[in-house]
């Protein structure tokens, strides 16, 4: 059975969570919810690529899509909000994977979710402004209307201090160089959306139609191109004199949630979780959530202060042997470990050890 692209995305993700989480965990993943649970799950089940991939998806749309998959006999329901692929679902997904790369190669939702929108808004307005400058057109309506984006482009162009033709040509050269450096991406996906001096860009729906792609497929390919560009440009700033300006002042690392940030600063000062809970008048479990989030973000974060090395090793051993991702199953084997310790170790080793 041939399945649609959006079916494949759902089957893939359901397959990854392996009946251990509800379908709403996917909703939160696609929305990019900044909760410890969602962030940990994304790492645990190797779904970080999809973080904030479909921010406009509604709960109802997701429920409907899952129901339809069940109707077509690809999914079975195991409890109220839990579903599992049956053998038809598994073979359909396998077959899909032979034809398509899913997730797309460069999709890195978790690493770039905070940069994606900013990058696109800046790129599209910069191209529009340069195009109008080169063709000496005044009086156009900007395609982005956020005040901060408009102010960014103004100060950016001023700061370059070169003439408009050279600026536009450099931008052109860098875009061509970047987009041609990788065979698997589809530059049209991006360029169709851009607005220039004599053509208004297409909406994502129009671009998808034009390329004969499903909306879901288009959305992921679009993010794929953007994430590829962010990665390539950030890693080769000296080659991309113009384009690197789009990401330079934007935050490099994924920002903590505000509350986690506060906890982090107290940890840096040497306070223990219990002390921090007292200072901040929060539950210790909340502080522990923050610490798990920090471990996910910062590879340099030292775990040994919270779990001794021997225990870390035993937890990982069980996790690898049983491929269990339910905390309780792990605890049955390592019964001197707390849930916090297990979560912390899994968070650190999440995406890399499994799958």
């Amino acid at each position: 059975m041939t399945i649609s692209y959006s079916d494949a995305v759902l089957l893939h993700c359901l397959n990854q969570i392996n009946n251990e989480r509800s379908i709403y965990s996917l909703y939160h993943l696609f929305q990019g919810k900044k909760s410890s649970q969602t962030i940990q799950d994304a790492h645990l089940f190797n779904l970080t690529a999809f973080f904030r991939a479909f921010p406009l998806l509604t709960r109802m749309e997701l429920e409907k899509a899952i129901e339809e998959l069940q109707h077509s006999g690809l999914l079975e329901r195991t409890s109220n909000e839990h579903y599992r692929l049956n053998k038809f679902g598994e073979s359909a997904l396998r077959e899909f994977h032979t034809r398509n790369e899913l997730p797309p190669k460069f999709l890195e939702g978790w690493n770039y979710h905070h940069l994606t929108t900013v990058f696109w808004e800046r790129l599209s307005i910069l191209v529009q402004v340069c195009s109008n400058l080169v063709h000496q057109k005044k009086g156009f309506i900007p395609v982005q209307n956020k005040q901060e984006t408009l102010e960014w482009v103004k100060s950016y162009i001023k700061a370059q201090n070169i003439n408009r033709y050279d600026l536009a040509e450099q931008l052109y050269n860098e875009l061509i160089f970047c987009l041609e450096s990788e065979q698997t991406i589809q530059p049209s996906v991006l360029i169709l959306r851009m607005t220039g001096n004599n053509r208004i860009g297409l909406t994502s729906k129009q671009a998808a139609d034009m390329l004969n792609m499903e909306n879901t497929h288009y959305q992921l390919e679009f993010l794929n191109v953007i994430h590829f560009m962010i990665g390539t440009i950030s890693a080769n700033q000296d080659q991309y004199k113009q384009l690197s300006g789009l990401v330079r002042d934007a935050q490099k690392t994924v920002p903590f949630t505000l509350s986690t940030e506060k906890t982090y600063r107290l940890i840096e000062k040497g306070f223990t979780p219990i002390e921090i809970a007292n200072i901040r008048k929060l539950k210790t479990s909340t502080i522990e959530d923050h610490i798990v989030e920090i471990a996910l973000h910062l590879e340099s974060f030292d775990l040994n202060k919270y779990v001794n090395e021997n225990k870390q090793e035993r937890i990982m051993k069980v996790a690898n042997e049983t491929s269990a991702k339910k905390l309780k199953q792990i605890r049955d084997y390592v019964n001197d470990a707390s849930y916090f310790e297990i979560r912390l170790v899994l968070a650190r080793n999440g995406g890399r050890q499994w799958n």
């Binding site: 080169v134 309506i141 395609v143 536009a168 169709l192 001096n197 208004i200 297409l202 909406t203 034009m210």
Partner: protein, 502 residues
Amino acid sequence: MELEKALYKYFGFTTFRKGQKEIVNSVLRGKNTLAMLPTGTGKSLCYQLPGYVLNGQVVIISPLLSLMQDQVEQMKAMGEKRVVAINSFLTPVEKRQILQRLPSYKFIFVSPEMLGTDLIVNKMKQLTISLLVIDEAHCISQWGYDFRPDYLKIGDIRKSLGSPLTIALTATATKEVRQDIIRYLQLETCEEFVFTVDRPEIAMGIEKVGYQEKEERALELVKQIQGPGIIYFSSKKLAEKMAVRLRDQGERAMAYHGGLDQEARILIQQQFIHDQLDVVCATSAFGMGINKDNVRFIIHFHMPLQLESYLQEIGRAGRDGLESLAILLYAPGDEQLSLQLAEGELPEKEQINRLFTVIQKNQLKIEELYTHEELLITSCGFSETQWRFVASFITSHGNENSLNVKERLTNYVSNRLQIKKDKIFKVLDYIQQNECKRSFILRYFGERSTSKPKNCCSYCGLNLGTFRKVFPTNDRGLLPFNWKDELASMLLKRVGETNETK
């Protein structure tokens, strides 16, 4: 007179359009002015030009956020940098920054609910306001089709600002409404300029069709009639559906409604203006502030809710002065949908009762109304529109006892509903009466019909052949799409070279 020089200097025009010069002169002579100019005849110039000539700030009160945003964008596109909008779109930080720099702006747009706060009024008092502009001034009258209770406060605010020179602008206001405007704004003296709402270049058609055939008829019309054009719907869903059907038919059509994200809205609007789209299937959210001269047809798939908004919407056609067509499709019973819509916008009696029970039971204070928003909305089942209506009414009667407020609100709602119903039946009259449609509308606005265009209306005679499509739709203009060529044509000056080297 130097006025033409100023016109050229600031706008690049050499002559005024009809009415503009008289109005500008009246303002410059220091007279409070009420001007009624039909849609699309350059209302905004009537305050912008005096604004440039006079020293001090121009404060513009405008009721619709989207319209305000459009106007600010357009002024910026014209090169005016000292323009700003104060509305609920701003973050607290942006708002603070803007208020600090307030005297550095020349044109300050502000929404009526923002103007209601002491903070803003106090800031405004420190300015030298050379001109106060009330845009869409008909919103002040409950006889107006778009009554906004917030507008009633403008009179007192104007007074507290020292009664600056004022211009009130509207496109459609009956005599009754114009009297309300002058009274509520507390204009001591006022020069009135009323120009006809008649647009002889727009033929006014009505087609009665069966409910089942409506979609087919709309598709057929678009196939036959010269675009570009707009089709108005009262539902998002139907607008989407018809856009799909039109695309299947080979038209360059898109839907536009409040459910789209911001970027898509800007793009679709701009595509339409730049002739990349021929048809927009829209809800009433579309069209305000759109400057497009060559719109050739406006089709109403559903009955408009009032003749005033109908006139505004069809007024978006034919701004270049060329013949254009308005067609209203009517199926027997359509008025039921209109009545439902009108009722849905207002809270029901049971909901009001429930609301006051909840308020009393929880001993809520009026100032806390918004903090308990969620509780109140869910326990009374308010829609967003209903809630906004109720909340703004109650907060503006904050110092009265709640039984009083409840009674006032109940009366007020039934009064509003009656007015809305009357307006709907007026539209129905317009559709059904056996007489000249143009005369009917003009009479409604207290005018006598003087123009007698060849294609007047479906009663006097209207030849659809005149509007037949002559320029075929230029479909698939982007295919085959080559992204490199496209980038080159955007960013490089000499496009030809990259093509030749292939």
